[in-house]
Symmetry: C2
Subunit: 389 residues, 2 copies
C-alpha cells in the first residue's frame, strides 16, 4: 500500500534469537483511531496511547515484543516516552505523532539500551516491502504471522485495507484483546474511523476467546493516509468501508484463535433462539470459555452435556426441554432429547475436522450471538507453565 513503510529487527529484547522490534512509518500524517484494553491494570504504552490518540494523527508506530512495559510505574511511562522520542528524532517527525505498543512479560522494565541501539537500525531498515518483518517482530507465543489485505471501491476509486495482528494467549473479548494494526489508503475522518472501528471490533475481536484472560496491553489501531483518493464520508461509502474492514478483522480474529496457545481446532459456537441479545451473548460466552467444553473438543468427544450445562450456568434463560444442539447441520439433541449413540458416533467423526461449527438453539426467542474459540490441549498448560523460564 502506498505511503506506508515497515521494518522488523532483532534488538535483543527477547531472550530467544527472534525479531522483537518493529516499526510502521507513514510518509504523511495519517488519520488515526484506536481502541485499548478495558483492563484496569494497563501498561505504560496504553496510558500514553490514550493521550496521544486524542489528536487523531499518527506518523509512526513502534512496537516491541518480549516486554509488556506494564506495572512499571512512572519509570515505565518515561521509558515509553523515551522510545517515541528516539523514533521522532530519527524520523524527524513530531513526537506526539509516534505511538508505541509493547507486548510480552509483565513487570519488567524496558531494556532501554536495546532501544537506543535498535531504533536507528530499525529506521534504516524501513521499506514498503518489509511488512513480513514487522508482522514477525510483534509476535510473542504466536507460531505464525497474521496479515491480511482486502480491497473495495468507492465511486470507481479502489482502496485497500491491510491488517496485521499478534495474539495467541491472554485472549478474551473485553476489548481489542491483542495487538492489531489496520492500515488503509482510504480517506476518512477521525470520528468516522473511530465509530466504524468500534462497531467492527465488537463483532470480530470482541467475539473470540482463547483462554479467558484480558491483556493489559490490548490495542487495535487504525491508520488512514488517504492516498487512494477513495473518500469515505456518506452512509453508502461508510457501509462499503465497514464491510471491507470487517472482512479484514474477522480474518485476523480467526487467525488469532487458530494460533491460540496449544490450539488444535478452531470452533464456532452460535447461540440462537435466545430471548434477548444478552442471553445469547452470555450463553455463547460461557460455552466458549468452559475448560470442560474445550478439553472435550480437544478429545474429539461430542460431550453435549458439558455444552448445555455451561449454557445452564451462564445466567441466560434456558429451558432444558427446548434446547436443540447441532454440530455442523447434524442435530445431536432435539427438544432436550439426545438422539442416541449412533448419531453421536457420526458427530464424533465430524469432530476430527480442524474446524467445528456448533449451534445451540434455545428456542425461546429471536436473538443470536456467537464466538470463535479454540480447544484446550496439554500444550496450553506447557506453554504457560514455562512462559518465563
Amino acid at each position: 500500500m502506498k505511503g506506508f513503510q515497515f521494518a522488523g529487527i532483532r534488538a535483543g529484547i527477547k531472550k530467544k534469537d527472534q525479531k522483537d522490534l518493529a516499526l510502521i512509518y507513514s510518509d504523511s500524517p495519517a488519520v488515526a483511531a484506536a481502541l485499548f484494553t478495558r483492563n484496569k491494570v494497563v501498561a505504560a504504552p496504553v496510558i500514553l496511547g490514550r493521550e496521544k490518540i486524542k489528536k487523531g494523527l499518527c506518523r509512526a508506530v513502534l512496537v516491541n515484543s518480549g516486554n509488556a512495559n506494564c506495572f512499571t510505574g512512572e519509570r515505565g511511562i518515561e521509558d515509553a516516552r523515551a522510545c517515541s522520542g528516539l523514533v521522532a528524532k530519527g524520523l524527524d517527525i513530531p513526537e506526539d505523532q509516534v505511538l508505541v505498543s509493547s507486548t510480552g512479560v509483565i513487570g519488567a522494565y524496558l531494556p532501554m539500551e536495546k532501544f537506543d541501539a535498535g531504533i536507528p537500525e530499525l529506521i534504516q531498515a524501513l521499506s514498503e516491502n518489509h511488512m513480513d518483518d514487522f508482522a514477525e517482530a510483534i509476535l510473542t507465543t504466536d507460531t505464525r504471522r497474521k496479515m491480511v489485505t482486502e480491497t473495495g471501491s468507492i465511486q470507481g476509486k479502489a482502496f485497500s485495507i491491510t491488517g496485521i495482528a499478534k495474539g495467541s494467549g491472554m485472549i478474551r473479548p473485553d476489548m481489542a484483546t491483542m495487538l492489531a494494526f489496520v492500515l488503509t489508503d482510504a480517506k476518512i475522518e477521525k470520528e468516522d474511523l473511530t465509530a466504524i472501528l468500534t462497531a467492527v471490533n465488537e463483532r470480530t475481536f470482541n467475539r473470540i476467546t482463547v483462554d479467558g484472560d484480558t491483556s493489559t496491553n490490548d490495542t487495535l489501531l487504525a491508520l488512514a493516509n488517504g492516498k487512494s483518493g477513495a473518500l469515505i464520508h456518506d452512509p453508502e461509502s461508510k457501509a462499503v468501508f465497514q464491510t471491507v474492514l470487517e472482512k479484514v478483522c474477522q480474518q485476523l480474529s480467526k487467525m488469532i484463535v487458530r494460533d491460540g496457545e496449544g490450539a488444535t481446532k478452531l470452533v464456532q459456537i452460535i447461540v440462537k433462539g435466545a430471548k434477548t441479545k444478552e442471553d445469547a451473548f452470555k450463553a455463547s460466552e460461557a460455552i466458549a470459555h468452559s475448560n470442560l467444553v474445550k478439553t472435550a473438543i480437544y478429545g474429539e468427544d461430542p460431550n453435549w452435556g458439558r455444552i448445555t450445562a455451561a449454557a445452564g450456568r451462564s445466567g441466560a434463560r434456558v429451558v432444558t426441554e427446548k434446547m436443540d444442539l447441532y454440530f455442523d447441520d447434524q442435530p445431536l439433541v432435539l427438544k432436550g432429547q439426545w438422539l442416541g449413540p449412533d448419531v453421536e458416533k457420526e458427530i464424533a467423526r465430524l469432530m476430527k475436522k480442524e474446524e467445528i461449527f456448533i449451534t445451540l438453539d434455545l428456542n425461546l426467542g429471536q436473538e443470536t450471538d456467537g464466538f470463535w474459540f479454540c480447544d484446550f490441549s496439554e500444550n496450553y498448560v506447557k506453554i504457560n507453565a514455562e512462559y518465563r523460564s
Copy 2:
C-alpha cells in the same frame, strides 16, 4: 455416629471395576436440609430432591456415581423415582423420605437393571462401619475419599458432625459445587439447620474452584437425627454448631480442591483492602479462575503480572500504584512496585511447597474475601479430554 448406617458396592454402573452405588440409612427419621445447584440445567434427582426436601425429613439417601441422570427428560425422573421406590420398599420406609443423588456422565439414561439388582445387595451391606465404602462409591474422577468428623458440646452434651463429599472437576462457587453429605447427632429444627447450612456453604463450598464449571447435580445435604441429645436452639448453641459445621465443610472444601483434576498444589488467594465486599469477591474470583495464573502456579513461577492483570479485568476497583502482593508473608510487589529479581527468586522457592498462600492488598478499603483453588496441569486436560472414552 449412632443411628446412621452406610453401604457402598459395585453395581456395574461404571465401566471400570469400581464401587458405584451407595446408601446412607438413618434408623429414625432425621431432620433434613439441602442446597442444590443453581445451574438452570438440572439433573432429575435434583428436581425430585427439591420437592422432597420441603417436608424436611429423611430416612435414606441413595447415591450412584458413573451416571448423572441429567438431560434425561421424563424418563430420568421416572427412573429416579423408581430408585427411591426400591430403597423404600427394601427398607420398609416412606418413599418420600428417600433422597437420591447421581453424579457422572450427563445425558445417558440410568441402567435400571443395575439398580434392580444392586439395591437389595446394598441394603444387605448396611452397617455403622461401612462409611468408607459409602465414601468410595460416590467418587468419580476423585482420587481419594473425603471424610471428616468434628465434635462440639452444648451444655455438657457432646455432639458430632461427620461430612462425606465427592468432587474433583466441574467445581466452581455457584452453589454446593459437588455432592456433600453432612450427618449429625445434634437435635435441631429444619429451619435452623437450613439457615446455618446456607451460611456455612457460602463461606466454604462457595469459595472453592477447580475449573470454573458448575455441575448440574450439585447437592449439599445435612441430616440431623438428634440422638446425642445436644439441643441446638438458642443463639449460643447455634453459634457452637455453626463453628463445628464450618470446620467440617472447610476441610471437605479443601479436600475437594486438593484432589482437583490434575491438581498438584492447593492455593489460597485472599484479596483484602477492597472498597466493597463485592470488589473483594470479584477480584479474588477472577484470580482463582484465571488459567494463566493457574498454569503459572503449576510452573512454580511467581508470575505476579498475571495475578494483578486478572484483578484488573475482574470489574473490581483497583489502582495499580496501590497494590501490594504477598506470597505467604513475603511481599513481591509493594505500592505497585516490583521488589526485584532477588525477592522473586526467594518466592519462587516458596512456590515449591504444596500449599501456597497469596494475598493481594488493594489498599482501597476494609473488605476481604478469598478462594481456595488449585493449579492447572497437563493432567487436567488429559483427564477431561478422555473422560468418556
